[in-house]
Amino acid sequence: MRRTWEVMRAAAWLGWQVEANWADPFLFAVYAIAKPLSTTLILFFMVRVVSQGHATAEAFLFLFIGNTFFLYVTEVLIGISWAVFRDREDYETLKYIYVAPLHLLPYLLGRGFTKMATATLGVAVALAFGGLVLRLPIGTPGTNWIELAGATLVGLVSVAWLGIILAGASLIVARHSINMNEGLSGLFYLLSGAVFSIDVLPRWVQPISLALPFTYWLELIRRILTGRPFAGPLRGVSDGGLWLILLGSTVALAGAAILWFLHCERVARARGLIDWKTNY
């Protein structure tokens, strides 16, 4: 266990160096917050222009909170799988992981920590922008901030395990362009109801949405921050129920991720894909 922790810590440090040591801290911070801010602005203009006065303040708050916390999904999920492509094809270091006394899985989870840190900065900036500039009521007098931190943490664990599933797939497929990453995060954006209530989804898609931990995670965060339920099909589920579903689905996801990743790793080694190059 101690060894695994050391590997994760070293990988997180390495990830931080890869992410950040090319620029001074100020420039890096500018780069890190540009994406969440522009995403928030896209949403702001979209609601203002597109709804033509139909969207209420509550609807915008719903979109804003979902969109802001969804940044964790895009950054961490994609970050972990992208580390496979970068290490395999650009730095050509993936093969050296296998000749070192460590396992790839904790190494990749450690790489994910770096993305969690940068995503946290982005989420904090977006929330501050929403509260101070857009004058959104982020939190109520009764908001339990410790519960929010706990929910965020459990959600992050869930995202990290999904990232491991994607990283496993990345080991056995060719390097994908950014379109694949955009598409995958778009898929979860669609299914988890990040920016619209899942009642809008076609009826046959709703069960898929309800099978994803993110759907419960975003609903829980919205409830903690506003004190009221949002997603139609989840209105009947209590806060405690949401916590239970989130924790249970995270544990199930972790089990599935470990099994899938080990399978993909075996396939990649059997097919000689560990030092594959596919940047066409």
Binding site: V173, I178, L190, K277
Partner: protein, 273 residues
């Protein structure tokens, strides 16, 4: 080398660089899914958001067209502008530099291959938008819209050539700069809604990007007044032609300058920078 040989060898380079991408995009099965189905689902999310916001149906058509154009912008950013960075990281850039062909031929090959790769994604988004979401796409105006689309691609990929010369010298900042350009340009290019909504000053600056103008013009051709156009339609094709010429000229100059600078500073073979 005679002029004929020079032309032949450069055309060969264009074909060879484009072919790699075309063949790869169909050989890697996961790419076919990753480059078509997933982006379509991402675009679908926006259509559903618009329905949730009770937006006028024409906005769904705007976002479907925007989704198709985003594919090309992302391709320019990640597979044109930053491609030399990836090639440098893999130790392949020097192989291009020792060949007796123009760098512009290699970039043109990349652009043509990239357009071929990306078109599958754009077609799936458009077809899915029409068939599943029933967005209006008036086919009687498709030909002029397609003409403007081709002009726009020319100007956008020429801009990608300029950016690739800048990215030639960069290390990891290339990755972050591409990320930095992505979302803000999604915002100011009017991918999700007519750019005029940003206000005249912001929209005026955004119009310097050929993709903004192209998308604005294509929407005007297809949807007329409902497109809330930024500039009069008749201005857009000549501006795109001018931008195409200027960008190609600048790309050639920038590429030569950056290559020389890179050689002097020894940064063309620097990996992991």
């Amino acid at each position: 080398m005679t002029l004929g040989e020079t032309i032949r060898i450069n055309l060969g380079a264009v074909w060879a660089r484009a072919r790699v991408r075309v063949v790869a995009s169909w050989r890697e099965k996961s790419w076919v899914v990753g480059e078509t189905i997933f982006p379509f689902l991402a675009m679908s999310a926006f259509v559903l958001v618009y329905r949730g916001l009770k937006a006028p149906p024409i906005y769904e058509a705007f976002v479907v067209l925007g989704g198709a154009m985003i594919a090309y912008w992302n391709n320019v950013l990640w597979s044109m502008a930053s491609q030399f960075f990836w090639e440098k990281e893999q130790g392949q850039l020097q192989l291009y530099l020792i060949t007796p062909v123009s760098r512009m031929s290699i970039l043109l090959g990349m652009a043509l291959g990239g357009i071929a790769m990306t078109t599958s994604r754009a077609v799936v988004i458009l077809a899915g938008g029409v068939l599943l979401f029933h967005v209006p796409l008036p086919l009687d105006r498709a030909l002029p819209a397609f003409g403007l689309f081709l002009l726009t691609l020319g100007a956008v990929y020429s801009l990608g050539m300029i950016l690739s010369s800048l990215f030639l010298l960069w290390g990891r900042e290339a990755w972050y700069t591409a990320t930095l350009f992505q979302r803000p340009i999604h915002l100011v290019s009017g991918f999700y809604f007519p750019v005029r909504a940003l206000g005249s000053v912001a929209a005026g600056f955004a119009a310097l990007l050929p993709i903004t103008l192209g998308l604005d013009g294509i929407r005007q051709i297809l949807y007329g007044e409902a497109a809330h156009g930024l500039l009069p339609l008749v201005w857009i094709p000549p501006i795109q032609v001018a931008l195409l010429g200027i960008f190609v000229f600048l790309a050639q100059r920038a590429l030569a300058t950056m290559e020389n600078l890179g050689k002097r500073e020894g940064r063309l073979t620097l990996r992991g920078g």
